[in-house]
Symmetry: C2
Subunit: 162 residues, 2 copies
DNA sequence: CCGAAATATTTGACTTAAGCAACTATCTCG
DNA sequence: CGAGATAGTTGCTTAAGTCAAATATTTCGG
C-alpha cells in the first residue's frame, strides 16, 4: 500500500479544510444573536426536517454525546419547544416532535440563515452562484461516496465505528 | 434591493454547510488522539507556517478571543513549545516562534493529518481527486472574492466589524 | 511635548459545552 | 428464561470559550 497521492493534492485539501473551518466559524458567530447555540440550532433543524426522529437518530447523525443530547432535549421540553412520546413499538425510545411553539422559535433562526445565505449569494454573479453550487455538490458527492467506501472497507457489518 | 436569489440555490448552499460541518466534526474527532485540541492545533499550524506572527495576528485570523489565546500561548510557552519576544518596533506586541521542541511536537500531528488526508484521497480515483480539488479551489476563490467585496461594501476603512 | 484615545496583551471571574461512566428500563434472541 | 444489546438518564468532571477590567505602549492632534 504505497503513498501514491500527490503531496500537492493533500496540501490543497488541507488548505480547503482550514478555509472552511474559518468560514463555518464565521457563520457560527452569526448565530450568536439567537437564543440557541450552534448545536441547539442543528438539533432544531433536524427536528424541523424529519418525521419523529428518536434521540439516538439525532445523536448518530449530528455526532453528539447521548448524555449531552439528553439534557439538551430536556431543556427544550422544559421550554415547551418539543414533545416527547414513548414509542409504542420500542418502549426504550421516544419520538421527538417540535411543538407549534418550537416551530415558531425556530422559524426566525431558519429565516435568518436563509437570508444570510441569500445575501452571500447575491454578491456573486449568477454564473458564479451556479459554479459555487456545482462545486459544493461535487464535493458532497465525492466525499459521501468515499465515506461509504470507507465504511465497507472498515468492517463488513457494523453500524458505526464508535 | 429585491431577493433575486433562487431558493433552490440557498437550500443547496445550506445543505453543503451542514454537510461540511459534520465532515469537519469528524476530522475534529481524529485530532482527539493528540495532546492538542483542535484550536491548539490550529494555532500551532499558524505558528509553523508564518514568520513571527503576533498574538493579535492569530486572534484575528483564527477568530479567537484574545484572552483565551493569551492563556493558550502561556501554556505553550510553559511547555517550551514557543518563544515570545517583545517587538522592538512596538513594545506592546510580541513575536511568536515555535521552538525546536515546538516543531517536534507539531510534526506528528501534521504528519497524521497529512496521512489521513492521503488515505481519504486514495479512496478516490485520480480523476475524482482532481475534481474534488478543483471544486475546493472554486469554492475558495468564489467565497474569498465574495468576502472581499463584502468588506468593501461594509465600511470603507474599518479593520473589522467587531 | 502633553494628554486623550487606540491598541496589544494579561488576568480574574464566570458560563457553557462537552465527555465519560455508571445506572435504569426495555428489548432481542438463542 | 437469561445473557447480552440498546435507548435514554443522571452525576460528575474537565475543557472551551466569553467578558470585563486592568496594564503597558503607542499614536496623534493641538
Amino acid at each position: 500500500m504505497g503513498d501514491r497521492v500527490l503531496p500537492a493534492r493533500i496540501a490543497a485539501v488541507r488548505a480547503f479544510n482550514r478555509f472552511y473551518t474559518r468560514h463555518i466559524g464565521v457563520l457560527r458567530k452569526d448565530y450568536l444573536a439567537s437564543p440557541f447555540s450552534l448545536t441547539q440550532a442543528r438539533v432544531l433543524y433536524e427536528l424541523a426536517h424529519r418525521r419523529q426522529p428518536t434521540a439516538s437518530d439525532l445523536a448518530r447523525d449530528l455526532d453528539l454525546d447521548a448524555g449531552y443530547l439528553s439534557r439538551l432535549l430536556q431543556a427544550f421540553e422544559a421550554r415547551g419547544l418539543i414533545q416527547r412520546t414513548r414509542s409504542s413499538a420500542d418502549g426504550r425510545q421516544q419520538h421527538l416532535v417540535l411543538t407549534r411553539r418550537g416551530r415558531r422559535s425556530f422559524a426566525p433562526l431558519d429565516a435568518r440563515s436563509q437570508r444570510d445565505t441569500a445575501v452571500m449569494l447575491r454578491r456573486l454573479p449568477p454564473a458564479g452562484q451556479a459554479r459555487l453550487i456545482a462545486a459544493m455538490r461535487t464535493i458532497e458527492a465525492l466525499l459521501s461516496a468515499e465515506r461509504a467506501r470507507a465504511a465497507v472497507a472498515g468492517r463488513p457489518s457494523r453500524r458505526s465505528a464508535r
